[in-house]
């Protein structure tokens, strides 16, 4: 109960500041926190990246293993995206099977990659109908200070861009790299008291009623969108959020991918 009151006070503080045109950390409404991307940080993974957005810290590792294709796509590799909200990363996270937030995060990142057709799944076929590469994208949250989805999506595409296919390890031959066809980038905005803010931190996420993630591609098309939160959005707010998504997505792509 005591904690709930503190929580309310913090939300009110965030909202009041925003009404007066400011954010707690002094950023502009359309400004990201500092982004830092370290690639190839995990030796045991075929691709990896650690993405920090402000204090948010996400490690993505990609492993490739041979496996059976889906019966309805016998000539295509399989992408499996998983997110672990390990309790190390946040007092809000708990041990146990993935909850709805980690499931949503993994599925949104996954859909962004699929929607953009960034990976040519046909190139991951080893033997049609029998054996294909399973691409496991594992999102491991280390520190949750908000906007996990943008960090996770950026970590995923950064990892995928430098995949080493482990042919030798499994006694196979074939190309060792995986040419990527696109670079989807997720940009999340929130609506607080009628204002649209990009890259919400943890307190801003809590203070916001609605959040929209917009995933856009190199050519400016959209390859995924997800509204979350218990509020509603107006058509013109969505239009603004999409505009920000495409613009900021382009900036991030240019700088980090």
């Amino acid at each position: 109960m005591g904690l709930e009151i503190v929580d309310d006070i913090r939300k009110d503080y965030v909202r009041d500041l925003i009404e007066s045109g400011k954010r707690v950390d002094g950023r502009g409404f359309r400004e990201y926190r500092e982004i830092n991307v370290e690639k190839d940080v995990i030796k045991r993974a075929e691709g990896s990246a650690r993405v920090r957005i402000g204090n948010t810290d996400v490690l993505v590792g990609v492993k490739l293993e041979p496996g059976a294709p889906f019966p309805d796509a016998p000539g295509e590799g399989v992408i499996i995206t998983n997110a672990e909200f390990v309790p190390l990363a946040s007092p809000e996270f708990e041990s146990g099977p993935p909850d709805e937030n980690s499931v949503q995060l993994a599925r949104v990142v996954d859909r962004g990659i699929r929607g953009s057709e960034a990976i040519d799944l046909a190139k991951l076929c080893i033997e049609e109908g029998e054996k294909v590469w399973m691409v496991f994208i594992d999102i491991h949250i280390l520190d949750n200070d908000g906007n996990l989805v943008d960090a996770a999506a950026l970590g995923a595409i950064a990892s995928l861009l430098n995949i080493r296919i482990p042919n030798e390890r499994y006694g196979l031959t074939g190309e060792d790299t995986l040419p990527m066809r696109d670079t989807p980038v997720a940009v999340t905005t929130v609506e607080i008291e009628g204002n649209i803010l990009v890259d919400p931190d943890f307190n801003e996420e809590n203070a916001a009623a609605s959040r929209l993630t917009v995933i856009s591609n190199a050519d400016g098309t959209l390859s995924g969108m997800q509204k979350s939160g218990s509020g509603g959005l107006k058509e013109e707010e969505i239009a603004e959020m999409v505009e920000i998504g495409i613009e900021k997505g382009g900036e991030i792509r240019e700088k980090f991918l």
Partner: protein, 248 residues
């Protein structure tokens, strides 16, 4: 939206495979109050989708530490019957149903006067009995009516429909074959009276202009569905409401 699948022509001579125009809904059938034990319920057909929603509550919230001292907690469970799809679905929640349950709950939250019933739970259950793409939108439509049938105070109903892209065209309310072979799918939910969007997801690939056009198309159709929802509630305790030119 799946790569590598065989290409199918989904539009012939300006008509979709089931004869619909681009901006045409599938037939809708609504029955209110179909279950005895539930506090509110609704059976909803959208083309070949058959869904049923039930509402229990406001009732005691378990476990107690999950109670909210200021408002009711809405719980939403979207569940597919094992026989509702071509390949039998294993019973129990999977990742897809967990996500749909979450976004559906968030689609309804904005209209429910949760502050009237602090510390309680309002349980919304949606069962998909037969599936043909669009089950989450049908479930939200049904749940919205079931909430009203249960007497839960609401600001307004929530109406939901998907739009998508097939053979390069933006069309309304994809069925399963269109969803499987199309280029994009975008479910939307809306509070009709205020044009407030409460659910928005997008899957596949769309130009920005296509997205904006699709959103407008969905919003228009939500108004249509809203009228059918209202009519069904007005007719409650009389008979069911049949709509659309299909055989539904």
């Amino acid at each position: 939206m799946k790569e590598g699948k065989e290409e199918i022509e989904l539009i012939k001579e300006g008509k979709r495979l089931d004869g619909r125009g681009f901006d045409e809904l599938r037939p809708i059938k609504i029955e209110v109050g179909v279950l005895k034990r539930a506090d509110g319920s609704c059976y909803f057909e959208l083309g070949d989708n058959k869904v049923i929603a039930a509402v229990y509550g406001p009732r005691e919230m378990h476990p107690r530490h999950a109670q909210d001292a200021k408002m009711a907690v809405v719980k939403f469970r979207y569940n597919m019957a094992p026989f509702s799809v071509d390949d039998r679905k294993r019973p129990g929640p999977d990742r897809r149903s967990v996500e749909i349950s979450k976004v559906s709950r968030e689609a309804l939250d904005p209209v429910i006067m949760r502050e009237y019933y602090p510390k309680t739970a309002i349980d919304v259950y949606v069962e998909i009995l037969q599936s043909d793409a669009g089950t989450r939108t049908a479930g939200i439509n049904a749940a919205s009516i079931a909430l009203a049938d249960a007497g839960i105070p609401m600001k307004d109903l929530v109406s939901s429909v998907a739009v998508g892209k097939i053979d390069g065209e933006i069309v309304l309310d994809l069925n399963a074959i269109e969803d499987n072979h199309g280029e994009a799918d975008m479910p939307v939910a809306m509070v009709a009276r205020t044009n407030t969007i409460t659910l928005l997801q997008m899957d596949g690939r769309l130009e920005r202009e296509e997205f904006e056009r699709g959103l407008k198309l969905a919003m228009g159709a939500c108004h249509q569905i809203y009228e059918l929802q209202r009519a069904a509630l007005i007719d409650r305790y009389s008979e069911s409401v049949d709509v659309g030119e299909g055989e539904a």
